[in-house]
Amino acid sequence: MSTDQLVIAGRTFGSRLIVGTGKYASNEIMARAHEASGADMITVAVRRVNISDRSRESLLDFIDTSRYFILPNTAGCYTAEEAIRTARLAREAGLSSWVKLEVIGDERTLFPDNEELLVATKALVQDGFVVLPYTNDDPISCRKLEEAGAAAVMPLGAPIGSGLGIQNRHNIEIIVEGAHVPVIVDAGVGTASDAAIAMELGVDGVLMNTGIAGATDPVAMATAMRLATQAGRLAHLAGRIPRRRYAAASSPVGGTVGA
């Protein structure tokens, strides 16, 4: 697998699985799940420091930033302006000029607001960011984001945290066929088979948070997701057999006893 690597904006990643940092029962479990996932890119959110309670542990104490590439996200932003401000703050806080760009349109679905997303993508690309926008499983949105300079496109498989898996496989395939930048399925993965299906469709990577963090045993699920991502990728490269409605015997047809 060493020759089959994920490359985004000229940067090479050994793993096609990208993981999050939210919803874990403890930072220790999160760190162990990260290890088990084999991921080398981890996404983090940006929030106001709690001024009145400074006792909370710092997330970055539990992420080895020499080993993992940190991908800040603009989770919770509802306008292009908020997302742009958040991305600029993240760049100063840290570690790179990369951003997982999220501009949300609705609290219940957490679906992206593609109009605002496109505005923010253009502005941040112009400002020198490597922009990875979270978008709908819509080939046209993906094409427009790519044209705006996105370094990858990240269509959802299903709503964030829903665990419903890949709802529209045909759209994901159309997105993959049309894209000239990496396609990362971001959101909706509930269990290992969902990750494998995404990879089998030909996407370049999978990003997930709740599917691992919300599992009863997050560390075991992280291992499952690592293997599923690899299995799905291998199956994609191997080239699956065509689907057919009737059987095709796998043993010789002639020479049976009593023929």
């Binding site: 993981v19 999050g20 940092t21 939210g22 919803k23 874990y24 999160m30 996404t43 983090v44 959110a45 940006v46 929030r47 106001r48 420091v49 001024i51 400074r54 710092s58 997330l59 970055l60 940190i70 800040p72 996200n73 989770a75 919770g76 401000r85 958040t86 600029r88 703050l89 993240a90 760049r91 100063e92 806080a93 840290g94 997982k100 999220e102 949300i104 609290e107 957490l110 992206p112 979270y134 964030i160 945290g161 971001d186 959101a187 990003l207 997930m208 948070n209 709740t210 963090a213």
Partner: protein, 73 residues
């Protein structure tokens, strides 16, 4: 004088540098990013930028989150 710190009113006796404000809040400057009156400050400028009456200051850091809604603002 009163500034608006992370959206809330915050009292100061006199204008202070961003560095002094962070020291007063016991915040490690290496772990945060600062926006002053909607301008994101470069890391090296915390000693030079003065926070004055009515200014808006945002201090942020990284927290756990995977995607939209996994953390609430």
């Amino acid at each position: 004088m009163t500034i608006r710190l992370n959206g809330e009113p915050y009292e100061l006796d006199a204008p202070v540098t961003v560095s002094a404000l962070l020291a007063r809040l016991e915040i490690d400057p290496r772990r945060v990013a600062i926006e002053h009156n909607l301008v994101v400050l470069k890391r090296g400028t915390f000693d030079a930028v003065l926070v004055e009456d009515g200014d808006r200051v945002e201090i942020v850091n990284f927290v756990g989150g995977g995607g939209p809604g996994s953390t609430t603002p």
